[in-house]
Amino acid sequence: MIGAIVRQKTAISERDIALFEKLFKESHKQAFGLACRMTGNCSEAEDLLQEAYVRAYRFFDRYDRSLPFASWLYRIMTNAYIDSVRKKNRLRMLSFSQSTHEAPAGFDFADPEASPEYALMRNALDDTVQAGLLSLPVEFRLAVLLADVEGLAYEEISEIMQTSIGTVRSRIHRGRQRLREYLVKKNPNKYAEMMS
């Protein structure tokens, strides 16, 4: 029961709901592509996208209408993804510390090429490149994706990742270097073919 004195005020007005739906329609396909490459898994990408849009809707009154919606959404999405990666890493470390007592030889570090999620991406993306992207530290991967796949300028990336332009520049450079090293090491023939 909602009282007469106190009532729940919905997060955004009717007019803003219509605007949100319009922005959703315009942005979701592109955002899905980015989420797939971030996660390496289309199913996880859908969950991430859902989380990002729900958060965006919840805080829609904080969205500055003069800026591109996609940039704001990507900021929310990258934050949500980094949070989830850190959470997984904490769980993994916890699992590792427990396994050292129980089964020290049984612990298996994640190999992007061996995971079932990776297999789901095989048909949609170039497998070697995607595996290389997944092998990068998350901040490097996001910076490279935002620059190369989304084609964003360093200034926009710095706003999305909430860091300095210098850090963005360094992350992109190191990310590309590591990606190249990965490709050369894992599949030198294919890399040579790709570079020819």
Binding site: G3, F24, Q30
Partner: protein, 148 residues
């Protein structure tokens, strides 16, 4: 400029994020240094390779599913309570009036009996509101939910 310094600038060069002078320095160095020239070319091809990766297509129902979640979240997101001050003031006034009338009545009916004074207050709990005051007859605390 050294090869090492030039190589740190290569990514920014292919992204066209250097100043005009820096762009010229990198280009000039890459032209005269075979190794750096080769590396710069690879960096540019890698960028092109990533930008040309085909975008994955979402499933047919994804958009519908996400918007349904968004709409559903509207009812569970942290409610921002908005007090309807006119109704609130009415509740306070009603309790105060009742208290005053009852006090007068009690005083008239039995001038020897005193009534403990409990100031009416308002207690907001979650999405409900209560007017809290004192029962002028028994002196016990009185809680009146104020609702639609």
């Amino acid at each position: 400029m050294s090869c090492r310094k030039i190589r740190t600038m290569m990514s920014a060069y292919v992204d066209e994020e250097l100043t005009g002078v820096e762009m010229m320095e990198v280009r000039s160095h890459a032209y005269s240094c075979r190794n750096c020239g080769h590396e710069l070319e690879e960096m540019a091809r890698l960028k092109r390779l990533l930008s040309e990766m085909p975008p994955p297509e979402p499933s047919e129902f994804m958009a519908e599913k996400i918007m349904a979640s968004v709409r559903a979240s509207d009812h569970v997101v942290h409610p921002r309570l908005q007090v309807r001050w006119t109704v609130l003031a009415g509740g306070v006034a009603a309790i105060a009036a009742g208290y005053a009338i009852a006090t007068v009545y009690r005083t008239t009916a039995d001038p020897m009996q005193t009534v403990d004074r409990i100031e009416p207050t308002i207690d907001l709990r979650q999405d409900r509101a209560y007017a809290v005051g004192g029962d002028p007859f028994a002196g016990a605390p009185m809680v009146v939910p104020v609702s639609r």
